[in-house]
């Protein structure tokens, strides 16, 4: 399990450094698959049907369906790269390390009620969430924002897998379904944005303002 968590952290750092959208999609897909495998290893001894179902569905969705949807969106919009994000790539990676330290700090504040989790689990999950939020805020392309949302959901999913196992895999499946529909709808929205504006640069979506232009 520790290896998967380290992989999660590494993929986040890689994501912060990448500018090419297709690379980012592949990294997020790899993260999703790793988390699907994590679902198998955190169940109680002896795999239950629910754990296997959850793992399969999440690997399918995050490893195959989402990358396909998003790649099609890139092809339609004909964007390859993120255009000069608000925070540069080098600064993003450095900030990523700071966020990782922050996640560790956060973990030390909240005492884990049970001690049979690897000490890396809560910081890794929080780090993923923070990286997801950072991507949403600092990237301009609408597709990068969707990827940030997916990363954030990955982090929350990881946290839920490790700490809320007893909640039942039904809720896990419900969450996956919701994320799937959300990404689907966002993909459609991006398609419309591209068709309407001929770009998917959200910094230029600024027609609605409060005071006179």
């Amino acid at each position: 399990m520790n290896l998967t968590l380290v992989f999660l952290v590494l993929t986040n750092l890689l994501l912060l450094a990448s500018g090419r959208l297709s690379t980012c999609i592949r990294i997020v897909a790899a993260q999703g698959v790793a988390l699907g495998l994590l679902a198998l290893s955190t169940g109680r001894p002896g795999l239950s049907i629910g754990a296997i179902a959850l793992s399969l569905v999440s690997i399918l969705l995050k490893g195959i369906v989402f990358p396909t949807l998003l790649s099609r969106a890139i092809r339609e919009a004909q964007v390859r790269r993120e255009a000069r994000p608000f925070v540069g790539y080098t600064a993003s990676v450095t900030l990523g390390v700071v966020l990782l330290l922050g996640a560790f700090g956060l973990d030390s504040r909240l005492a884990l009620p049970r001690s049979d989790y690897p000490p890396l689990s809560v910081p890794a999950a929080f780090f993923t969430i923070l990286v997801g939020l950072f991507l949403i805020v600092s990237r301009k392309q609408a597709l990068s924002q969707v990827l940030g949302y997916l990363v954030m959901e990955n982090g929350i999913f990881a946290f839920g897998l490790i700490h809320a196992r007893e909640e039942g895999f039904l809720v896990g499946l419900g969450i996956l379904l919701d994320v799937f529909v959300a990404v689907f709808v966002m993909g459609i929205a991006i398609f419309h944005i591209n068709r309407e504006f001929d770009h998917i640069d959200t910094e230029r979506l600024s027609a609605l303002k409060d005071w006179e232009r």
């Binding site: 909240l110 049970r114 929350i156 809320a164 007893e166 809720v171 959300a182 929205a189 944005i193 609605l208």
Partner: protein, 498 residues
């Protein structure tokens, strides 16, 4: 009593859901619109039966029919029925092909009508699921579902402004709801520590074992849930999507978004506060809600001053009233009672105002307050109702909002929180000034429509729904039925502070 509680609750969700799915495949406009009205009527009848039964704690399955559920279900259903009737007239009036945009010289068309009708019914189904959920995990799924089915409705008029509003709405609300999911997991961790073995998110187990919940994790869970559902509800500073989405959507949709959806997100926070109160930590939640409430009223007031778009003004007014709701619950006790009453009154009044705004927009072809003058001249009934709505939303007697806002003020003074009371009054005054300049300007002056001078006949479907809502608000100001009062009291008691 038509059927046992489990079946009733399930029907309340399934009937609109099935109707919504069917609406997507029906081809004839008249059949689809009939289905919309039928779905709304059936839902209203079921709701009336459930509410009049009263006091039934409901089943032990996934759905519950406690006081909170009944109250918000009633509000939602009533508002949806009137909105559905209005939508009938609206859909008949909308031209089927491309037309010129009001604000810019572009051509745009509407989405297929089936999308709007189907999404409206699905919206009703998901909102019912939110208020009826017995399990906080299910509540989360339902709120996410409301975001997803309401997005296509905001993008009904297919032009770039509404697309921008839809994108902001989708992204910000999805992120907020993801944070709420984290809150749910923290809550599960807090419950696991209780040592009962199961860390389920069912409301009843949580409330029952509340005293054993791990407090730091519970508090963390509440913060995440507040931030997450607060984004959906429109609490400042997370409200940035609200003015755009509520002003670019068709007026019918705006009425439902402001009047019903914000309440549903509020239910999420109320459930969290319920658990917190059962654990004895009510003061923690109340403090946060107080601060966010005052902040919302203040920010809304600042943005209402000098606002040039009347639909955006109504949207910011929603933010203000959401702030009042949060403030009431933040005070607790009588304040919570006032807040619940305010939820009823605000939904009715705001729904009415948005429907009227739709009429004005259709007639004047502009959303700018500078260009709308003398509404009663062009649209007599709408004009009168618009004036009444203005009085209602500002909190003037004899309308219901006066009673609820006064109750909250009294609660603040009774608790000795004069600072809060003074701030509350000052901010309300600020909002009043802003709203007055907007509304009175529109009501007075020489009528300036494209066909100035003549007043056309308004169809019944245009003015009857807002009139009904206005009458209800007026009635609530004069007399609150004891059954309703008892329900409000019951809800307030679960929130702590008594």
């Amino acid at each position: 009593m038509i059927a046992p509680p489990e079946t009733m609750a399930a029907a309340l969700v399934l009937v609109p859901a099935v109707a919504g799915a069917a609406a997507f495949v029906i081809r004839r406009h008249s059949a689809r619109r009939g289905l919309l009205i039928a779905g709304a009527l059936v839902h209203a009848l079921l709701t009336a039966d459930v509410c009049l039964r009263g006091g039934d704690p409901g089943s032990s399955g996934w759905l519950v029919l406690d006081a909170t559920a009944r109250l918000f279900l009633g509000i939602t259903s009533a508002l949806f029925l009137t909105a559905a009737v209005y939508a009938l007239g609206y859909l008949r009036r909308e031209p089927p092909d491309e037309r010129h945009d009001f604000q810019e010289d572009v051509l745009f068309s509407n989405a297929p009508e089936a999308v709007l009708t189907g999404c409206l019914l699905l919206f009703l189904a998901t909102m019912s699921l939110v208020v009826l959920s017995r399990n906080l995990g299910l509540l989360w799924v339902a709120i996410e579902a409301t975001t997803l089915v309401s997005a296509p409705m905001i993008y009904f008029h297919r032009h770039h402004r509404s697309l921008e509003a839809t994108w902001k709405y989708l992204l910000i609300c999805s992120v907020g709801i993801a944070v709420a999911l984290l809150g749910n997991f923290c809550l599960a961790v807090a419950a696991a520590k209780a040592g009962q073995g199961s860390s389920s998110l069912g409301l009843d187990p949580l409330v029952r074992n509340a005293s054993h919940l791990n407090v730091p994790w519970l508090k963390a869970a509440f913060i995440f849930l507040l931030v997450g559902y607060g984004t959906k509800m429109g609490l400042a500073p997370l409200h940035t999507w609200l003015p755009d989405a509520h002003s670019e959507a068709p007026s019918v949709v705006s009425a439902l978004l402001s009047g019903a959806l914000l309440n549903c997100a509020f239910v999420g926070i109320l459930r969290a506060q319920q658990v917190l109160a059962a654990a004895g930590e009510a003061a923690f939640g109340q403090g946060l809600l107080l601060i966010l409430g005052l902040l919302s009223i203040g920010l809304a007031g600042v943005f209402i001053l000098g606002q040039t778009d009347f639909k955006r003004t109504l949207a910011y007014s929603s933010v203000e009233h959401i702030g009042i709701l949060a403030l009431g619950v933040g005070l607790g006790g009588a304040g919570a009672f006032g807040s619940m009453l305010h939820a009823v009154n605000h939904s009715l009044a705001k729904g009415m105002l948005f429907l009227l705004a739709g009429n004005i927009l259709a007639e004047y072809r502009t959303k700018s307050t500078a260009h709308v003058r003398g509404v009663p001249g062009a649209l007599p009934v709408t004009g009168v109702l618009w004036g009444a709505g203005f009085l209602a939303i500002c909190g003037l007697p004899p309308f219901g909002l006066f009673t609820s806002e006064l109750t909250i003020l009294k609660a603040a003074l009774d608790q000795g929180r004069t600072g809060v009371a003074v701030a509350y009054l000052a901010l309300l005054a600020l909002v009043f000034v802003g709203l007055t300049t907007t509304f009175l300007g529109m009501l007075q002056g020489r009528t300036t429509t494209p066909g100035a001078g003549r007043s056309r006949r308004e169809s019944v479907l245009e003015f009857a729904p807002p009139m009904a809502l206005g009458a209800l608000v007026l009635a609530m100001g004069v007399y609150v039925p004891p059954a309703l009062s008892a329900t409000l009291h019951e809800v307030a008691r679960t929130l702590g502070g008594f």
